[in-house]
Amino acid sequence: MFERRTVPAICLGISLAVLAAGCHKGNTPIAQAPPPAPNPAATTAAPAPAPAAAAPVVAQFTAEPTSIIIGQSSTLRWQVTGDATSVTVDQTIGTVQNTGSRRVFPSQSTTYTLTAAGAGGSTTASATVTVTEAPAPPPPTSPSNATRPGGYVTLEKGIESKVQDAYFDYDQSEIRGDSQSVLTQDAAALKALLADFPNAIFKLEGHCDERGSAEYNLGLGDRRAGSAKEFLVQLGVPADRIQTISYGKERPQCTESDEGCWQKNRRVHFSPGQ
């Protein structure tokens, strides 16, 4: 906050201070009182008893704008009247002319104090520039969005093109022969993807065909995902990079009622986890 002082207000302030001190000498109170002082702070700025020579008066000390975003500037303007021998502004600005302006680039909210000193004493005024943080930048480009040495733009695309589904026999969660070869390749692919996407989590989804009950299949899908996880972990894929979820028969990828379709649905499918 800055204070805009007017000469009558200062006079009134001084007069009040004089009265408060119990001294009847000095300036005669102005017969016609001006409106009440706009700001009590104005009175505290001139606490001294009335001196022989008046202290200099800070007619203006402002910051414009008073609120900036970090990196922007604000302009301080000041005007000192009266008998001033030195005018200084703190915050490394130092001695300035009686009247002037200065662009400032505060990196955090800063209160500037102007001190005008003269034979009759010194007067200070302050102006504050409020600095707000810049809006948060977009999150850093995640590994999954960057083009990686493997050439995959996203983890999802990488999984899609490098990792194959493992298939199961009806009502079985054991890894059958062909799925062992698939999962062995998958383990290598997952480890390669982890090199490209170090934060990657792989979700193993267990799925079933439509024939068993929905309740039992939720259990069967869980076991399929669990068996595949165990197999991959044995081949060196870190266990904490693998999540499992059973979708039972709730998310079929094929909806015909024949063995071709049923086989496609009896699977463990890979997707990015969270």
């Binding site: 929905a214 309740e215 939720l218 669990g226 909806t255």
Partner: protein
């Protein structure tokens, strides 16, 4: 070829014999043999009541018929004049054995419906007559309902029920009055009324939509959503109802992994069941005192599933079965509270087992053929309804009932699509189940002998019924 035909006809005969034997063995009372004849007239209404009498008449007939207690007499046999109140009955004139004098008309032989004999004699030949009328009085829909035993000669001695039934002046009010009247009739004939009971089920707007839990009245009316998760997950299913009818427990993907939720039925409030940290928690059901829940969980190894029991809040859980197989769908015997029926893959494909509630005395009760799932206890504590593929291709489930003591069973559905998830109505003689017999999966009800199948839903896809008070 010849042999095949012979086999088939033998099978049919054997089938019907088995049916008779089994029905007795299964100790489920379906009074098909000694059903009393019941005629229900179309009630007429005065004033504004007229608008709602069609709904009233339809509901009353359907409720009484579906109770399975009566042989309903078709309305086409009824006489032209329908009594609306007891005072409408007239006594036939005393029989005059003398020959009528020449020129005098012969004595009338019928009251056209206003003599009791018009109903007890041919062609109606009913034992009971339900009649009455509707009116609007002081802004209330009022039905005066009567049931007469037509075997008793005089109207003054025939009344079995005579009562007023009230409702709001709209279709819901007419339905309420009809349900209450039907309940009185069914109760009078020592049945249990299912009007007023509720069916909860899994509803899906279409094949791609998230599954939500819905509720409806026992006759399929008043279908409404209970959950509104609307998540991009498979959704919620596998509902069971607490014994007092106040809570439902179900399985949902709403928060990620399949987990158990307990909701208050009236407020639709999530009562926040505590789930064990596991890849699967599913198929919850209540103990008969409503204080505990049995369920299946893949805890602690994320390798599905053992049977657990916990407080209704989910805390204080402990395992009942050992790890090693897929054990799901535990159901506590509602009569004893000490026995659990469940499904297990421990001997191969899914089969039905029973055990003590402490996990001891495990016994397989299905014979090992096909897959047996979805056990549901009758309130008698002795009969299980379940779905079984026995005798059919994998996945072709039919509804069966079995006596858990003798292991005798009876097949209730035959070659009509895939039939699953049978659940007993509170009356112990009705079953609800899901079937795709009409193309899409819908909820049906039927009597425990397989008769009177009734389609209760038709919009979207509807499965996994649970039937509570």
């Amino acid at each position: 070829m010849k042999k095949l035909v012979w086999l088939a006809s033998t099978a049919t005969i054997a089938g019907s014999v088995l049916f008779l034997l089994a029905a007795q063995d299964l100790s489920i009372v379906i009074k098909s043999a000694d059903r009393q004849k019941m005629a229900i007239t179309d009630f007429r209404g005065s004033g504004d009541a007229q608008n709602y009498m069609a709904v009233f008449n339809q509901t009353l007939w359907a409720d009484v018929e579906s109770a399975g207690l009566f042989s309903m007499v078709s309305k086409s046999f009824y006489p032209v004049r329908i009594p609306q109140q007891p005072a409408d009955f007239q006594q036939p004139p005393a029989v005059n054995t003398a020959r009528p004098k020449r020129g005098q008309p012969p004595a009338p032989t019928t009251g056209n419906g206003l003599w009791m004999s018009d109903w007890s004699g041919p062609p109606v030949q009913t034992t009971y007559l339900t009649f009455g009328y509707g009116a609007v009085q002081n802004g209330v829909f009022v039905v005066r309902g009567f049931v007469f035993d037509m075997r008793r000669g005089a109207p003054s001695e025939a009344q079995v029920i005579g009562k007023n039934y009230l409702g709001s002046v709209d279709e819901a009010g007419a339905r309420k009055a009809a349900h209450e009247f039907a309940c009185d009739i069914i109760t009078q004939f020592s049945g249990t009324c299912i009007a007023g009971s509720h069916i909860y089920y899994t509803h899906q707007a279409n094949k791609m939509a998230t599954k939500e839990i819905w509720g409806m009245d026992a006759d399929g009316s008043n279908q409404h959503a209970i959950t509104h998760f609307n998540t991009a997950t498979p959704g919620s299913s596998f509902t069971s109802v607490s014994p007092d009818g106040g809570k439902i427990a179900f399985t949902s993907f709403a928060k990620g992994q399949p987990a158990i939720f307990v909701f208050s039925v009236d407020s639709g409030r999530d009562l926040r069941f505590y789930n064990q940290r596991a890849s699967v928690n599913e198929t919850p059901s209540f103990t008969p005192d409503g204080k505990q829940i049995v369920y299946a969980s893949s805890a602690p190894d994320d390798y599905c599933c053992r049977i657990f029991i916990a407080d209704v809040s989910g805390t204080g859980f402990r395992p009942i079965t050992a790890p090693g197989s897929i054990d799901v769908e535990p159901k506590v015997n509602p009569k004893t509270g000490t026995e659990i029926a469940f499904v297990s893959g421990r001997s191969g494909h899914a089969q039905l087992y029973t055990m003590n509630i402490d996990g001891g005395n495990v016994e397989r009760i299905s014979d090992g053929s096909g897959e047996a799932t979805n056990p549901a206890w009758n309130s008698n504590g002795r009969t299980l309804a379940f779905a079984w593929t026995r005798g059919y291709a994998t996945g072709k489930f039919n509804i069966f009932v079995m006596d858990v003591v003798t292991h005798k069973y009876l097949q209730l559905t035959h070659d009509e699509g895939r039939n699953e998830n049978p659940v007993w109505a509170p009356d112990g003689v009705h079953l609800a189940f899901a079937s795709d017999r009409g193309g899409t999966e819908q909820i049906y009800s039927m009597l425990a002998d397989g008769s009177q199948p009734q389609k209760l839903t038709s919009q979207g896809i509807n499965t996994h019924p649970a039937w509570g008070k």
